[in-house]
Amino acid sequence: MTVPVEITINGKACAGEVEERQLLVHFIRENAGLTGTKVGCDTSQCGTCTVQLDGVSAKSCTVLTVQASGSSVTTIEGISDGVDLHPLQEAFWNNHGLQCGFCTPGMIMAASELLRNNPSPTREEIRHGLEGNICRCTGYQNIVSAVEDAAGKMGGR
């Protein structure tokens, strides 16, 4: 049993016939072919699949594609053209905020929402804001520094 869906991903309309049970992360990866969004767990714990759904960060493994039909999704590929970087991307690079890079897209998408809600977070607030995203390489410290740096560059302080 499939149903038609249409989701605007990074400003581009993506239509498809999908099973009702399909997870949004699989639509993004398989149907739209955008593999920057990752699958790191199956219990909504790790945050590697974080995207923005109608401007709010969401774990796309916990949303059905059909629920997102008619919505607008922004993935890591949509926050910059890959050449002129988003300030968070630049800050992750400058602060060594990544090692293997697998958690990074989700981390950046979660951090982006964090800074929208709190443009000048303390390091403690950044740590609390990112506790839904797991990184196994960095010990989080340089991720916190990156978000702090980006907040400064984005005018938060």
Binding site: E19, R21, Q22, R29, G33, L34, T35, G36, T37, K38, V39, G40, C41, D42, T43, Q45, C46, T48, T75, I76, E77, S80, G82, L85, Q89, F92, W93, N94, H96, L98, Q99, C100, G101, F102, C103, T104, P105, I108, R123, E124, I126, R127, H128, L130, E131, N133, I134, C135, R136, C137, T138, G139, Y140, Q141, N142, I143, V144
Partner: protein
């Protein structure tokens, strides 16, 4: 103008593709006509298989094929163990990729479905009927070694896969004569490595050419090729293994798994590409775990706290089967490090490698050394308490004095260089140790439970001399190779056989080349991970990649430099001995204007219009580097905790690390490795542990149940470093990947035990969860 970048913390060259979501990990790859595999796994930890009826799955939507052990039997060979430690009566029972007669842990593969989509493949698994005869289960490795325990492999009595013994000095005499002896039983619980990227394999078989291509989440693609050959029978030169972007490994992507072999089998049967990617829940069941030690340990000392002996008996759980490197981890990488950074003249140890009905155990970050460092550091603290001295002072009086070129310890190995007391001093000073102890005294007077943990450590890495590898039964070499190739435009490719997966060596290796021959770092591209375009190498683990591959690159770069000098001399019409080099330019001594840049040399060598007689064209060099010894990084760490005695909650308040990994090529990357390493060691001290119930079911079967460190649970790690170069390494480098993990578990454990000591608590098993700590406090109160 060349940027001088060897030794500077330049940002990483691999990052742009990673921060933009443009990197390609194995599961991101799609091939035309690709099918998806899902593997049926045993729900029992120990059972005979009476029958497997896969007929129900065959007709399910999208299903293309279903295979069981009957199909793979005789086609796929057993999964080999590649570390056959000698003198240990090692048993190597068969490990079929798909179980046919018996399953030995929850997760053992029983059948595979190949379908058009992954959803369909997983759906169809439900239609395979397996009739199991459940058997008794054993999980605890000491219990598994006792008479009467359920026998997991028929030809392995008492489940003992090997017995490995170590003896240096006269330990019995040391204990008989000791004024002070202390002892404990330490459990180093099973850990799940949890790289963020789950494991994945994509196999593409071409019947026309007889070639198998395997994209695989591997830390060591050349070993994966070798073992794919062993298991599938496809000749090694017809196999191409590609480890594309790999999202962390921490040891769990070293082994060769059944899943890769099964995926290759499916592609070879069907003639189309087949992909398999584990779910996180599958990862928890089947991807090798770490530690699983029960350590019965004793230390002898004088009444003044001078250590005279160490004695251990260790039960090391192996899981249901031997994994690729598992016998070497609790023996060579563990027992040989029993002296730690101390003078311990008499050491003896016995390690029993024991099968149990859990997931196979293999290397996990630190691999054997955290298990050694934890027992040593725990015992040193017990000695300090027994003789009534400060733990830092007891360490200081037992540390091996500074040495620059070789020091033999009782376990029979030779450390390369060390300055352990300076590391301890640096750490105590950075932590403000005396002030911390004063604050602690005040806190205790105020009724608060504050603890300070100190540890000194030394580890063995840069694995290692191949002759030693052979002597200790490692079924491979441990050298590395590199090719440096200059193109006519002066741009450079470096090809290496190791396979970094987050450690940043695309940057540090470029820094080595830049430092040696003066090219800009941005003119160097490092290729790794693809067996078709890289020279043979043994992989990335054991903090060996910068140490061993880096050395190969330095040696190759020096060959480039010497050829360039000879060619420059020819072009400048001077004698080679009159050519000087500085910053990418070769010039006639005293006449810096008469020069050729490395780019000039690269162009001429490639067009070869004017070469000295007998010189080959091209500017390319390769090197095979087999290290003369291991490297021995070291350091000292301090942690401060406060325990709430009413709840058992532990607040890790400060963490100070001083590490000495020799010469640093990129200090930013070194610091990042320490951050991540420390946190991976804090996790098991406080939160992490894979728990199996008595039936062998994994209770901590998802990220909901297994408590990984999160950003809000951690203090800022205060990172400092000293630099004692390795005397035998071309660049003085030692390695830093595992240091943090090796040191932080005992440091945090000791801090908590220090906090609890005034309450009468003498021991608590890790992880130190609030419940266990609260119970220990209450037991002590009630007992006292």
């Amino acid at each position: 103008m060349t940027t001088r970048i060897f030794g500077s913390g330049i940002r990483r060259r691999e990052d742009p593709r990673l921060i933009t979501g443009r990197a390609s990990y194995t599961d991101d790859i799609k091939l035309p006509g690709m099918l998806h595999a899902a593997i049926l796994r045993s729900p029992y930890a120990h059972a005979n298989i009476r029958s497997v009826d896969a007929s129900g799955a065959a007709g399910q939507p999208g299903v293309v094929a279903v295979y069981t052990g009957e199909d793979t039997d005789g086609v796929l060979n057993g999964l080999p163990c590649a570390w056959l430690i000698p003198g240990s009566d090692l048993k190597t029972p068969a490990h079929p990729p798909v179980a046919k007669d018996k399953v030995r842990y929850v997760g053992d593969a029983v059948a595979v479905v190949v379908a058009e989509s992954r959803y369909q493949a997983e759906d169809a698994l439900e239609h395979i009927a397996v009739d199991y005869e459940p058997l008794d289960v054993v999980i605890n490795p000491k219990a598994a070694a006792q008479d009467g325990a359920p026998q997991i492999h028929e030809d392995v009595p008492n489940n003992i896969a090997f017995t490995w013994a170590l003896a240096g000095g006269d330990t019995d005499a040391a204990f008989a004569d000791a004024a002070v002896t202390v002892g404990d039983t330490i459990t180093l619980q099973r850990l799940i490595a949890n790289p963020m990227e789950p494991r994945s394999a994509l196999a593409q078989w071409s019947a026309a050419t007889g070639e198998l291509t395997l994209w695989n989440t591997s830390q060591n693609p050349h070993i994966a090729r070798f073992l794919t050959c062993v298991v599938t029978g496809v000749p090694e030169h017809k196999i191409r293994v590609i480890a594309p972007e790999v999202g962390g490994g921490f040891g769990s992507k070293i082994p060769y798994y059944a899943d890769e072999a099964i995926t290759a089998f499916c592609s070879m049967k069907l003639g189309v590409p087949v992909k398999w990617t584990e779910t996180r829940s599958e990862n928890y069941l089947i991807t090798t775990q770490g530690r699983d030690h029960i350590e019965e340990v004793e230390m002898a000392a004088t009444s003044d706290g001078v250590i005279t002996g160490l004695r251990t008996t260790v039960y090391a759980g192996l899981g249901g089967y031997l994994s690729t490197a598992s016998p070497g981890v609790p023996t060579i990488l563990h027992g040989l490090m029993y002296s730690g950074p101390y003078n311990i003249p008499n050491i003896s140890g016995t390690v029993y490698g024991v099968f149990n009905n859990g997931c196979p155990v293999d290397a996990y970050r630190g691999a054997g050394r955290p298990e050694a460092t934890t027992l040593i550091e725990r015992l040193v603290d017990l000695v300090a308490a027994a003789v009534g001295q400060d733990p830092a002072e007891v360490r200081r009086k037992n540390l091996i004095p500074k040495f620059e070129n070789g020091h033999d310890v009782a376990t029979g190995i030779t450390y390369d260089s060390g300055d352990y007391e300076s590391a301890l001093d640096s750490c105590l000073s950075a932590a403000g140790y005396e002030a911390l102890r004063a604050e602690q005294a005040q806190a205790r007077a105020d009724g608060r439970c504050v603890g300070i943990g100190v540890s000194s450590y030394v580890e063995i890495c840069g694995l290692g001399p191949s002759q030693v590898a052979g002597a200790v039964g490692f079924q491979g070499g441990l050298w590395e190779s590199a090719i440096i190739r200059f193109y006519p435009t002066g741009k450079v490719n470096v090809m290496v056989g190791s396979s970094p997966h987050g450690q940043g060596e695309e940057t540090t290796f470029a820094q080595i080349v830049a430092g040696e021959v003066g090219v800009d770092v941005d003119d160097v591209e490092v290729l790794h991970g693809d067996t078709d375009n890289t020279p043979m190498g043994w992989g990335t683990y054991g903090s060996r990649t910068t140490a061993v591959s880096g050395a190969a690159i330095a040696v190759a770069a020096r060959k480039i430099k010497e050829k360039s000098r000879a060619l420059a001399a020819h072009l400048l019409e001077a004698a080679p001995e009159d050519i000087e080099y500085e910053d990418g330019r070769f010039f006639v001594r005293g006449s810096p204007d008469q020069h050729k840049t490395i780019q000039d040399i690269a162009l001429m060598a490639n067009v070869a219009w004017n070469m000295p007689e007998g010189m080959e064209p091209g500017l390319e060099a390769s090197a095979f580097y087999d290290p003369p010894n291991f490297t021995y990084p070291f350091g000292a760490h301090v942690a401060v905790v406060e325990v709430d005695p009413e709840t058992g909650h532990i607040d890790l308040q400060r963490y100070v690390a001083v590490d000495d990994c020799g010469v640093q090529i990129n200090p930013m990357i070194v610091e990042g490795q320490v951050h991540g390493g420390v946190v991976q060691g804090v996790g098991p001290a406080l939160w992490e542990g894979a728990v199996y119930d008595d039936d062998g079911q994994l209770v901590t079967g998802s990220m909901l149940d297994y408590a990984l460190p999160r950003a809000d649970l951690l203090p800022e790690i205060e990172v400092h470093s000293n630099s004692t170069p390795s005397p035998h390494h071309p660049l003085g480098v030692k390695g830093i990947g595992e240091a943090g993990t090796i040191a932080s578990t005992p440091t945090v454990y000791n801090a908590v035990m220090d906090a609890l000591r005034p309450l009468g608590v003498t021991r608590v098993d890790m992880p130190l969860t609030p419940e266990k700590v609260w119970r220990a406090i209450n037991d002590a109160r009630n007992g006292g």
